[in-house]
């Protein structure tokens, strides 16, 4: 009997240890999340910048538009996951309001994701006619930056 109790204890300790280790090993450091977030947002900005030149007729790369709009939409779909609690300090321009007003943040972030999705749809309907949805997406970017990002540092 005491044998089985000991065995159970060993098993419990082992499982608990494995769980703790797993949690430590998988939980990313906040600094890394911030770096990742910044890289993702920069890539979105890169696609927006490229689109800006195309939509305004400054350059002609019609074959690239789909790639740009889809990349933005994919990144924006998961944008909320880039702002977990604890990723609110250090080298970030994300304002405290991201975490202190989570409902408002969620609203504007989701609106941006929807606007990005609308742009993809507009493109699939008529590749030439995306100006309006592109501007709407820009509005959504600005709306979020207005209340949730520090302007300059």
């Amino acid at each position: 009997m005491s044998h089985t109790v000991t065995q159970s204890w060993i098993r419990i300790v082992w499982v608990a240890g494995a769980l703790v280790w797993g949690a430590v090993a998988t939980a990313a450091e906040p600094e890394d999340i911030i770096k990742y977030r910044q890289s993702v947002m920069k890539s979105v900005g890169g696609h927006m910048g490229a689109l800006t030149q195309i939509v305004r007729g400054k350059v002609e790369y019609p074959d690239d538009v789909q790639y740009h709009v889809e990349s933005i939409a994919r990144s924006m779909k998961t944008v909320l996951s880039l702002f977990p609690v604890d990723s609110d300090f250090g080298e970030t321009r994300a304002l405290e309001s991201v975490w202190s007003k989570p409902d408002d943040f969620k609203k504007v972030a989701e609106a941006a994701a929807i606007a990005a999705g609308d742009l993809v749809q507009a493109y699939s309907k008529s590749s030439a006619d995306i100006g309006e949805k592109f501007e709407a997406l820009g509005e959504a970017c600005k709306a979020c930056h207005k209340d949730f990002r520090e302007e300059d540092k």
Binding site: G49, T52, K58, E151
Partner: protein
């Protein structure tokens, strides 16, 4: 006595005058609304009055004041500018309004602190100011008393001296040979939109340093730094062309795909977005014509990202 030739010529000149007047009225209508209220609202948006006179973050009513501006000289609370006769500006005469906007003097004769940008509004035309007053008097009056400024002691007593040193009432007047678009842009940017009030660094006494017009500052509103927007290629917006800037003034989108936030997003959303494309283009023409000033705004070159990179 007039000879028939002279009177015919006079009639001709009068006719040409009428046609020219009609033409320029047509042009004016194309660039902004020509009814008094419409023109007033247009100027109201360009001047961004609502950004400071509405305490949006705390649910304040439209133009009822109470917005706190933290400055090195203390905290100022914007006053109620609704037409409420007791708490707002409802009892003001046209002369009171002109004196406040162009000279920075309240109806009771006291000077305004330059946190109210009469230093820029002084350049507005009487026509625009009359329209602005008409618009302000058309909004719902709100019975909200003004909050006392919380300034450094003795500041008010030094105000007359400050004005003597740093303030000159003026009338907006472009050089007679100026390009009309440039002149319009100069008028809008300096007198109405008052770009310089945030984008120009100030001296220790809080006056804008004219030689560094629009060259950016670390001590902008809300303690934030404000970028250099002179056409310097490395520290300003010298790599933006006229289209880029015009596009930015409408959308907040920069050539590298970033989007404005913070106070600039408010300036665009509540104001610049609603101007005509011609007026935005005119502002861009003026800003890009300014001397390029090399001046880094961030704490040190090491902490400063190059302008074409941005951080989230």
């Amino acid at each position: 006595m007039l000879s028939p030739v002279t009177s015919a010529r006079r009639r001709l000149i009068a006719a040409v005058g009428v046609v020219l007047g009609w033409l320029s009225a047509g042009l004016a209508a194309e660039s902004q609304p020509d009814d008094l209220l419409g023109r007033g609202e247009y100027l109201f948006r360009a001047a961004g009055c609502g950004n400071c006179h509405t305490d949006t973050d705390n649910g304040g009513e439209f133009l009822a004041g109470g917005y706190a501006l933290d400055t090195p000289f203390g905290t100022f609370y914007s006053p109620n500018i609704t037409p409420h006769s007791e708490y707002g500006i409802g009892a003001w005469s046209e002369q009171d309004f002109m004196r406040a906007m162009k000279a920075g003097v309240a109806p009771d004769g006291t000077d305004y602190f330059p946190v109210f940008p009469y230093t820029s509004y002084t350049g507005l035309t009487h026509g625009d100011l009359r329209a602005l007053k008409a618009y302000l008097f058309s909004v719902p009056p709100v019975a909200a008393p003004n909050r006392r400024h919380d300034t450094l002691p003795g500041l008010r007593r030094g105000l007359w001296l400050w004005k003597l040193l740093f303030f000159t009432p003026k009338v907006a007047k472009a050089p007679p040979d100026a390009d009309p678009a440039w002149a319009r842009g100069a008028y809008l940017a300096t007198a109405a939109v008052h770009c310089g009030e945030c984008h120009t660094p100030r001296n220790r006494l809080g006056a804008m340093i004219d030689s560094l017009y629009l060259a950016g500052t670390r001590d902008g509103p809300e303690g934030k730094s404000v970028p250099n927007i002179t056409p310097d290629r490395t520290t300003g917006i010298g790599r933006w062309d006229h289209d880029d800037l015009t596009f930015y003034l409408k959308t907040g989108g920069t050539p590298d795909g970033d989007y404005a936030g913070g106070l600039m997003a408010e300036v665009i959303d509540n104001g610049l977005k609603h101007l005509t494309q011609a007026d935005r283009a005119a502002i861009a023409t003026f800003v890009l014509s300014l001397p390029a000033i090399e001046r880094r705004v961030a704490e040190s070159p090491e902490t400063r990202k190059p302008r074409d990179e941005f951080e989230y």
